[in-house]
């Protein structure tokens, strides 16, 4: 170990030998013990390390519990939850995982179709580009409604298509009036 390298190690990793690179740690410790000049370099870095030790963090209360609550308790529970799942990313992802596993267990065509459809409709990663899928689903009732409406005969409309009948009745009335004044 040379002085240059020892200085570089201290400048990068600080005064605590536990932070020094493992491959060079023993050599650096030996160097510090043998060279009096190393003590001055160590003290320079110690002051900064002491200040950094003051940086304490507040614990993130309840976050771990909240993360756990969003993960289904089991694969079966995830499958049951599917009806109540919205777009919450955790639940969607969990459902997708659960569905993939349940498909492996159940070879039924219906299950495979349902899981494939749900995975397609609610992908684990919801990006704006994926919004067309639920949008497309939402337009289906509208299109069906228009098709039904265009094919049904509504009696009220037929009354307006009988002008010829009205003309005929009017002419007949006038003829009767002329022949029987």
């Amino acid at each position: 170990m040379q002085l240059n390298r020892f200085t570089e190690i201290l400048a990068s990793y600080g005064s605590q030998s536990s932070h020094w690179p493992q491959a060079e740690r023993d050599a650096a410790i030996a160097f510090a013990q043998q060279h009096p000049s190393a003590l001055g370099l160590l003290k320079q870095q110690e002051s900064l390390d002491r200040l950094l030790a003051d940086d304490k963090l507040e614990p993130l209360y309840d976050l771990k519990a909240r993360i756990l609550n969003q993960v289904p308790a089991s694969i079966e529970e995830a499958a049951i939850k599917k009806a109540s799942i919205t777009n919450a990313s955790f639940e969607t992802a969990a459902l997708e995982t659960a569905m993939n596993v349940s498909v492996a267990r159940d070879d039924g065509l219906y299950s495979r179709f349902l899981s494939g459809f749900l995975s397609w409709l609610l992908p684990a990663r919801n990006t704006p580009a994926m919004l067309w899928r639920p949008g497309l689903l939402a337009t289906i009732p509208l299109v069906v409604g228009i098709m039904i409406g265009s094919h049904l005969n509504i009696s009220g409309l037929d009354d307006f298509d009988t002008w010829d009948d009205d003309d005929y009745l009017l002419t007949l009335t006038l003829d009767i009036l002329e022949t029987n004044p």
């Binding site: 976050l63 993360i67 995982t97």
Partner: protein
């Protein structure tokens, strides 16, 4: 089975998570949550989005466990790398939520002097860390606070060991300047 999970390595737990095992997920969350959450807290200087980022890291543990490659890195390194990338993305998007611009608000003379000094000193360290460029701050957090090895930190930052040491040395030099004279940031 529970005993097995307690004795399982992190890598074995990730393998179980990839098969949808919630109990394995819970065990690994219990092990890795403290370190990952501390890293994110320091990177974002306790921004409001800290909890969202931590949550996203562990969401990816659940959804992307099958992508973990034990030949490339350890589980802790992998999770730190996910956290690092999310933090950097967040900081870029929000043009840096810098704690350096925060001011220390003090209530008028209620606290004893030594407590006040402690509060001020802690705030000063936080402000100094926040004033560092993101990659320098990340390097210092990983090596100093998270106590990861230089190899792990270099993997997380996707740099060489030499580049990591350069980031660390520049970061520590700037920290010393900021903490000795906080006005010259």
């Amino acid at each position: 089975m529970t005993t097995d999970l307690h004795e399982a390595t992190d890598r074995q737990l990730v393998e179980q998570i990839a098969h949808g095992r919630r109990d394995a997920y819970e065990q690994l969350l219990h092990r890795q949550f403290p370190a990952v959450s501390r890293y994110v807290q320091r990177m974002l200087v306790q921004a409001a989005e800290t909890e969202d980022i931590v949550q996203e890291v562990f969401l990816r543990l659940w959804t992307q466990a099958n992508r973990f490659d034990p030949n490339l890195a350890g589980v802790s390194t992998w999770l730190h790398r996910i956290a690092h990338n999310l933090c950097i993305d967040h900081l870029r998007q929000h043009n840096r939520l810098s704690g350096a611009t925060q001011t220390v608000e003090l209530d008028g003379g209620v606290e004893p002097d030594n407590e006040l000094e402690n509060t001020l000193r802690k705030q000063t360290v936080k402000q100094a860390l926040a004033a560092l460029p993101d990659r320098q701050r990340s390097a210092i957090i990983l090596c100093h606070f998270q106590e990861l090895s230089n190899v792990e930190a270099a993997l997380i930052l996707d740099v060489s060991i030499e580049a990591l040491e350069s980031l660390l040395a520049r970061g520590r030099r700037k920290l010393r300047v900021l903490l000795e004279d906080p006005t010259c940031s």
